[in-house]
Amino acid sequence: MQARKCDDRPGPARRLRFQYIRKVRFGIWPVIMALLLALAPRPSLAAEGQGGAGAPGPDAITTIPIGYLKQEVKRPIPLSRLNTEPDDLGMAGAAIALKDNNTTGLFTKQKFALDVERVPPGGDAVQALKTLVASGHRFILVDAPADVLLRLSDAVKDQDVLLFNVSATDVNLRQKDCRANVLHTAPDRAMLADALAQYLVWKKWPRWLVIKGVFPEDLAYLDALRRAAKRFGGTIVEEREYEETPGARRSDTGHQQIQTQMPVLTQGAPSYDVVVMADEKEVFGPYLPYRTWDPRPVAGTAGLKAASWHPAHEQWGATQMQNRFQRFAKRFMLPLDYQAWVAVRAIGEGASRIGSGDFGRINAYLRGDAFDLAAFKGQKVTFRPWDGQLRQPIIIAGAELPVSTSPQEGFLHERSELDTLGIDQPESECKFQ
């Protein structure tokens, strides 16, 4: 990898360069590679001196630096230990995609680098972004809340910079607050709610008892649920609020209280088929399964969930992706890892297809009809030109296994069935600025 002086740059944010970390993590890997090269009679990497596709010159290697900006956010400890956030969440997905890009790059004479800026809570994300841009990063993944993302987008508005929103699910980022310099690999709440709703309706569980939390995120997801119910023929029979504020996860009496609280919370509801949770911060949602008054399944932000990825998703070649990721990160691959993987792979795909690291051409290619990415979802994923959102199948899954993938059969669309999920072109309020 080409050495770039960035580890010693002063600044409020911590910066990591992933290829160095990779070397540490992959301690044995270079040794194995060297052995393979030594054992094979006349092996070759074939990167040098061959007519690789898209090479700009006989020996020129194009370097394409990719940035990753993570705005760290204080979060409560999750109810379940299983949901503890890995420290390298998202970044590990970007790093494995970097490895994929660089394997391809051996043949196309392109090198990709990944530099991570971690902004502590309350830190200056805009400054961190400017630092990345100043050091030549044109493609930057952003893992940050919506308000921070918008500030970042506006800060580099007139520059050749493309941001990838890998985590924020806010619908407004794809609607009135959409930005020309942002592509979204994270599905928004509308896509997630639509994907779940299609499955529930297909399953003939159209009557939903909604239990909602009190936070703005909960209400935003609730909005998406209401919209999805209307679109696909679901009925919200009642909305109930859970007002308890988040407390200590561990308490001696917690168990017994919950065992009596949750049935009461769901008691006396009109006839319904499924409880749908709107509790994005997981304040109480995971308590509901197996504790409802009536014996009903739980879906939404707890129980059966919609997500871009699942650690046990193995269809469409995903087994290979999961194996690669687990060998690399020593943990399971999570949705944010996948969303970051897609972003870095999209950049790699653009660069290899146009045979150049040119910002303008890659940017245009990603948004155009020619772009498609194989992303272990059984069909290509592409970006919607009207709001920059990634079109992608959404996995519907319980804790242990995927249950289905939406769009469901029968929800038709004139162009792509994937556009039955989320904000479709006719309803888009996005005017790029």
């Binding site: 061959q50 051996l106 043949f107």
Partner: protein
């Protein structure tokens, strides 16, 4: 019209009595089908279409191939990280090849050895001498190598890598990659024409088949498909076979549940044959009168009458049929 009608009538009669003589008396070959989820090989008779036996093999059997002497069936047992050798006479597993991790597809040098194995999880092509079962070379290729094609003169082996989206041309003497051709997304299968002039590469996610000139290493045609009533994203080309005379090519279109028939001279798509669900790999009988197609979701094999371009039979096999190979005799 009349000829076609009478032919159809004849076919119906023949089918009714349980035989297919659509293009002269068919020889009886043995057909082997790997069942990816059944961890087994189904053995079929190409004349009677009867299941002769179901052999238990290693986990997740995918690519299969017969050795040139027809004595052994090579089975990629992907989840067991090995290629198993089945003695076709005794129908017993008699050995393993040191394939490396996660073997998916394989192909043979025209002389009968070595065998080239794509290691999907490890970005490698492993070259194994079939006589002494030794690894001759491991060639580093792109991410998720899958399809393996060998030129008829044995000078080139081509590997397709699904995430890198390339066909890597490898010299079989030096094991050096000489060319990398970018093709459509998720290239699955590589098939040389019998005259060695063209290489056909299917791209599952892009929904295309690239025909590459093996001299210039340039794509001369990107074949696209359109089936009325089928959404384009379900058209996912996987298995490809070209007839020996170079007149027709057949492409399995995955969840579109069709096998495309292509004029291999003009590259025009001439027909779509409705087969089972998620059609995956294809294999001709040596006389090229029949083409067997595995249907991974409907758990059966469709038999296509090649001269008449008709699906004449579907045969239930094991769970998730994937690969198919046919004996020479």
């Amino acid at each position: 019209m009349t000829r076609e009608t009478s032919r159809r009538a004849a076919l119906a009669v023949l089918a009714a009595i349980g035989f297919v003589f659509s293009a002269g008396p068919a020889a009886a070959y043995t057909v082997y089908v790997s069942n990816e989820k059944g961890n087994s090989i189904t053995v079929l008779d190409s004349k009677t279409f009867e299941v002769l036996e179901t052999l238990p093999v290693g986990q997740r059997p995918r690519g299969i191939m017969l050795t040139k002497d027809d004595k052994h069936l090579l089975v990629c047992a992907s989840d067991d990280n090995t290629v198993q050798m089945v003695d076709v006479a005794t129908r017993e597993i008699v050995g393993d090849l040191p394939s490396g991790p996660d073997p998916e597809l394989l192909n043979l040098h025209p002389s009968g050895s070595p065998v080239y194995v794509a290691n999907e999880d490890d970005n490698l092509l492993t070259v194994i001498d079939l006589n002494d079962k030794k690894v001759l070379a491991e060639v580093i290729v792109g991410v998720e190598p899958e399809g393996v094609g060998v030129s008829p003169d044995g000078k080139i082996v081509v590997v397709t890598s699904e995430t890198t989206n390339m066909a890597h041309f490898i010299d079989t003497e030096s094991y050096e990659i000489t060319d990398n051709v970018l093709v459509g997304s998720r290239p699955r299968f590589a098939e040389f024409t019998a005259d060695g002039k063209h290489l056909w590469v299917s791209s599952e996610v892009a929904g295309t088949v690239s025909v590459i000139d093996t001299e210039t290493r340039k794509i001369v045609k990107k074949i696209e498909f359109a089936i009325p009533g089928v959404q384009p994203e379900y058209i996912q080309p996987v298995g490809v076979r070209v007839t020996k005379d170079g007149s027709k090519a057949f492409v399995a279109l995955g969840p579109a549940n069709r096998v495309a028939v292509i004029n291999a001279k003009t590259f025009e798509v001439e027909d779509y044959l409705l087969v089972g669900k998620r059609v995956w790999q294809l294999a001709f009988t040596p006389d090229q009168k029949l083409l067997f197609a595995t249907n991974g979701v409907s758990n059966d094999v469709s038999v296509i009458d090649v001269p008449n371009l008709k699906v004449v039979k579907s045969i239930p096999v094991g769970r998730a049929p994937w690969g198919v190979a046919v004996s020479q005799e």
